[in-house]
Homo-oligomer: 516 residues x 2
């Protein structure tokens, strides 16, 4: 193996764990990203940020932890998933659970009345981790929000537009954006006869209709949530509806629904939203879906979520199923081997998510909605309506990685353009001089950190790291004031005078298509 | 005030705190970054990353917290500054204190034998915060390291080169890179007669010589660290030396020092390092300084640190002094007012760093060195020598912000290129159509989220946010299939046919120099 290779994390001495007294691992539910994963990740981030900036957004940053009281009463039952820090001299701190609540705190604290901002950062949830399903305790969120008192559906439609732009740009297959309105749901439940205090309960059952049959949802409504079966049936009639603008018209002519102020306002909103989205050229991507409810408590208006479609999604579901099955099998073997001994490892294995039968595929890759009351929770005197979206960027990474694997795409971890190599001993200073010249010209350059490396190892390094060009300089070349310029992929070589090197190389690099 | 402005965090409703029951603030020692600060920050990061990539580095990411045992016994006394999390079902976790130890854990865990990586991430230290001095509990680190068994000074000199490249690129004034060698210090202390077990103690005193007079350092050595006065004087003779390659030659001819194997090897290293750095064109920036010792325990070879010089540094020291004095005065008044009442706010005021007399100016903006044993601490069987550098990126932000303030530079928080405005009512859909056309052409575009905004407000928004162009479309323009294209700065307007708009605008934008 080439001892000169600096890039690939696959360069391992041995796989067997002999780490000694240290348990060398990342904390439960977290992971490191290796250089290739980082290249994929940075590429996805870059595309997302370009879209946010195309729409004029600025960015902010907030600390990774917040005062605990800022986070309480924002996440309902999920609050138990918040990581707390040890008491810091009387200050109780928690790791942030999302970027929305810190954003609302930022708005309230600075008394901002409007901003259009994006924020990318890690958030923390002590959920049951499941690597095969891409569920981690530390993961990135990628949010865009428009805060301010504006006219109906103008910020909302731009959020939907940005979601569509991003999903188009990342190029991971076709997608669909489901749309609904919290006030339509409220109105709908009301006219069906759901008691006010049960609306949230019913809502969370209805939200399962994308994965669960109506008969099961109805059972849940009647048996667990004590909803009258007739009321449930009425809800079912509405919740099964989905479509485009014609469905909005249809519901607008539903007299019962239209007498409800909340529902009627929501339908006007949706009508306008679809009209604006038609101008944005994304009408075909939208699906008005009455079963969409979204989990979070704080939404107050339009809600939306995007799902990926197409063959890549099927491929991923298949891969996931395989991975989960393999894991289950491995675990069964490990538990069998341990024969009742409760070692630490076994306990951890048992602790993991064991449900291998349900394969969730990719699921939602972006979601959002309007939340007009959140800033108000921090300061009763402030009214800052907000609407936003969050890109499920960890899922996009996973889909991108699946695509690279399936289509055997080439990804480079480094961006090196040229490698300076020497075929004989004693030429290290000559190499450094060339590197210096290339760095000065802003050409991404590497060379061996061995004083007298073997030429074979140097060229292998170029091929392994997909460096497009190598410059070879030996005694002959030095005497003739030339270098050999080698195209690594084709192994074609040409002789270039030293004073022409930068020019020749720059021209060639302009024409080199970036692998990824 | 223009109700249309979406960008500036200075758009505050009121400054008085009436937040109600919530204490609306970021945790102690942390801060939010507003859009303008983020623009400055992103600009600095971009330049640094470009340099790292110019030298072929890949990047990795590790979780923000580590298993507590990974961090113990790495930071000596400073371990008390580590943030611990609440016990997570038996897993003890701590926020990372730097990026070096997680990097070593990553190398050991994956049994990597070589990598050249950069990593940018936040680290956490429960230090006494002091905003005026730029000391925070959450701050960014920006590291570059070369791991692997290589030949002498080749990776080391490239690290010094990268440090110089970055400081040149950020363009914040002249700088100097101080160089020394841990083994030279060891040898020097040995020949002066310092007992082996006191070498680290003496070293930390010597390191203060850039800010403290020799007489005070000597006093510390003799009185606090029980060093024989004659030994101290001998140390003093060496420690006061600094210079270039000629100093290396001078020390090489020092017979006492050269009999010491450690010192003699170190001098050979430094000789080679200077030779390589001369090829890299940065010899003039280097200062061989025998008083440089660096705090961290884990260094084993060459060490270096860079300091900024020039008038910007003086300006910052002055500003700092002013800020600290103002703060001290404000605190005195606040404490006086409270008349012995120990309210929470007063306690916090008293808790803060009160030392206003020492103004540290900018200090070290980059530092690093060789650490050959750290990976070995995680796995006795692994030997992965490392050398690296860390950019003091928070200090660079502060200097950049001072430069912007002093030189009244224009910074934009958003990158919007054109704003679509309408002078009459009822034209919102026309505006959306134009936005859609511009977004399609990848032109960064904004418009008002009011259905019928006033033209004055729209144009004010452009000027406030330094958007270079505005497109104005009214009834006349619609009828004639044209738009008005306005250069915001000069207020010059021209009429452009709609089908020529993208072309005309793209050409103009190519010529627009980015403000920042």
């Amino acid at each position: 193996k080439n001892d000169n290779s600096q890039q690939q994390p696959s360069q391992k001495k041995s796989k067997k764990d002999e780490a000694g007294k240290f348990l060398l691992k990342a904390p439960k539910g977290t992971r490191d990203f290796d250089p290739l994963q980082m290249a994929v990740r940075d590429n996805v981030f870059k595309k997302i940020i370009e879209c946010f900036q195309l729409h004029g957004a600025v960015t902010i940053d907030t600390p990774v932890f917040e005062r605990k009281e800022i986070l309480t009463q924002k996440y309902g039952e999920d609050s138990k998933l918040i990581y707390d820090l040890n008491d810091q001299a009387g200050e109780l701190l928690s790791l942030r659970y999302d970027l929305t609540v810190p954003f609302a705190r930022y708005l309230a604290m600075n008394r901002l009345i409007n901003i259009k901002r994006y924020q990318i950062g890690k958030v923390y949830r002590r959920d049951q981790p499941c690597a095969a399903r891409g569920r981690y305790r530390e993961f990135y969120q990628c949010d865009f929000d428009i805060a301010g008192v504006y006219d109906k559906m103008l910020p909302d439609s731009e959020c939907v537009k940005i979601m569509a732009d991003i999903l188009t740009k990342v190029d991971l297959g076709d997608f669909q954006i489901k749309i609904n309105h919290r006030k339509l749901l409220d109105g709908m439940f009301e006219v069906c006869g759901v008691p006010k205090d049960k609306i949230r309960l019913v809502s969370s059952s209805i939200d399962k209709l994308d994965k669960t049959e109506w008969t099961d949802v109805k059972k849940e409504l009647v048996e667990e949530k004590s909803i009258d079966p007739e009321v449930a049936d009425k809800i079912g009639e509405y919740a099964k509806l989905s479509g485009g603008m014609e469905l909005i018209d249809q519901l607008k002519s539903d007299e019962v629904l239209n007498k409800n102020k909340s529902a009627s306002e929501a339908l006007d909103d949706l009508d306008l939203l679809f009209k604006y989205c038609a101008i944005f050229g994304i009408k075909d991507k939208l699906l008005f879906d009455l079963s969409l409810a979204r989990g979070l408590d704080y939404y107050t208006g339009v809600i939306y979520e995007a799902i990926l479609k197409g063959d890549l999604v099927d491929y991923i579901a298949e891969q996931q199923k395989k991975a989960l099955a393999e894991k289950a099998a491995a675990r069964a073997v490990a538990i069998e081997k341990a024969k009742g001994k409760k070692t630490k490892e076994i306990l951890e294995l048992e602790d993991e998510d064991a449900d291998v039968n349900v394969s969730s595929g990719v699921g939602t890759v972006a979601a959002g909605g309007r939340y007009d009351e959140l800033v108000n929770m921090f300061d009763k005197k402030q009214n800052v309506p907000c609407v936003g979206l969050s890109i499920g960027v960890e899922r996009l990474f996973a889909v991108m990685e699946a695509k690279i694997k399936r289509d055997n795409l080439k990804v480079r971890a480094c961006e090196t353009e040229v490698y300076v190599a020497t075929p004989q001993k004693g030429l290290v200073e000559e190499r450094l001089r060339l590197c210096q010249m290339l760095w000065e010209a802003n050409i991404k350059t590497e060379h061996s950190y061995k004083a007298n490396p073997k030429i074979l190892h140097q060229l292998q390094y170029c091929e392994e790291n997909k460096i497009p060009y190598a410059i070879i300089i030996g005694q002959d070349e030095i005497e003739n004031r030339v270098v050999k310029l080698r195209e690594v992929a084709s192994r074609a070589e040409e002789t270039v005078p030293r004073e022409k090197l930068i020019e020749t190389l720059s021209e060639k690099l302009l024409k080199t298509i970036k692998t990824y």
